[in-house]
Subunit: 233 residues, 2 copies
């Protein structure tokens, strides 16, 4: 097994806790907030995939923040919710300024002290990643904050995953890619990374004929996985 020389994280749902979005939606639309948040998230991801599949050359690419707005408007309309400008702005602000999962900051700082190069590789566009990293208190913890915006193709396109090895100048097999999305962990495994799936929700494994290198419930389990793989953390 290759030595682990860097760790790259997915952002939304992995580093940043998106639960506050559901809570705010529920506050604004009592009894329907969870449905709104779920459909919003579903369409947000659908739109990344439809655009990348339909135009591998990036001709239909639109930044993640714009897709996030599109998806919110679709979800609200479909669920029959009136989304005036102020309400939309509140929901979007909640999405822009997320918190870190409680154990994440400590775990990232420990990895940083261990001298392991760290990065983010996200569907998010650079502007939104910049705000999210700062509002989650993670400024200065990463060597590279990588956005698929550079290649105008969303995950699971190979060009998107290729950004990690390129930035760190390492083979994918020397990098651990960490995601809380099962499909993202699978996509990165297909690409050639070592992978760790933070299965916070306790979901079954995606049936994609590929398995992440490791799986756990939170970032502390990632630390244990790295230690067991020979990284001094």
């Amino acid at each position: 097994m290759n030595k682990i020389r860097a760790v790259v994280f997915d952002a939304y749902g992995t580093l940043f806790d998106v639960y506050s979005v559901t809570a705010r939606a529920e506050q604004l639309f009592p009894g329907k907030g969870e449905a709104l948040a779920l459909l919003w998230r579903e369409r947000q991801i659908d739109y990344t995939r439809l655009r990348t599949m339909a135009a591998p050359d990036g001709a239909l690419y639109k930044p993640f923040w714009a897709l996030t707005v599109d998806a919110l408007r679709y979800a609200a309309e479909r669920l029959g919710m009136k989304l005036d400008e102020a309400t939309e702005a509140q929901l979007l602000k909640e999405y822009a300024c997320l918190s870190a999962f409680p154990e994440n900051l400590g775990a990232l700082k420990r990895l940083r002290r261990a001298g392991l190069p760290l990065g983010i590789l996200s569907n998010g566009n650079p502007e939104m990643l910049d705000i999210s990293v700062k509002s989650a208190g993670m400024h200065g913890l990463f060597d590279h904050v990588l956005s698929v915006d550079a290649v105008r193709q969303y995950k699971t396109a190979p060009a998107a995953y290729a950004l990690g090895p390129q930035a760190f100048d390492l083979p994918a097999g020397d990098i651990v890619f960490v995601s809380s999305n099962g499909w993202d962990a699978c996509g990165a495994t297909w690409y050639g990374y070592k992978t760790f799936w933070i299965n916070r929700a306790g979901h079954p494994a995606e049936r994609l004929d590929v398995a992440p290198t490791g799986t756990g419930h939170d970032m502390n389990d990632l630390l244990a996985f790295l230690a067991a793989s020979g990284v001094a953390v």
Copy 2:
């Protein structure tokens, strides 16, 4: 506007009514059948997209029927349902042998009598399409039954939509592509078809910065659209 020289249909949900699958799931798992059918369908489509995006060369392609089985197993496991072999076989049989939507057969026969070349262009693999066409009573109505299996890329990949113009030897702009899936109608519009979205569920338009050429509620609305476009039906 180009003259309309052929009509190509999506299959599942457009020609074939997949509601019976939900009904059977509900019968087998009272109170949870609809959730199972929804998650099953969601993962079935997710798996097509993840595989095509991750490997545009088709290296991760797996036929739609196999993905349908994978998705059912995932959905059942996630919802905590025990899926023994007999139950799984019943649900899959329901999916294999679907009925036509009530107005479809009459509409297709009218188009056929009008002399318009007709086709199917589906994510389904040839074997499952063959069974579905026969069990829906549509045998002999189509000039071409096209499966993305030929190119090992799922919709919305351009190679998938290209099968229509290739088979009919017509520019995409001379063909009407018909789908009940908003995203599929948008994908075909991006590709260059004239498109008609059969919006059976009354959903809002997908926010993909593109609109189908026409929209209606059922196949009779398609006939009206074709008549208004100069086709003698």
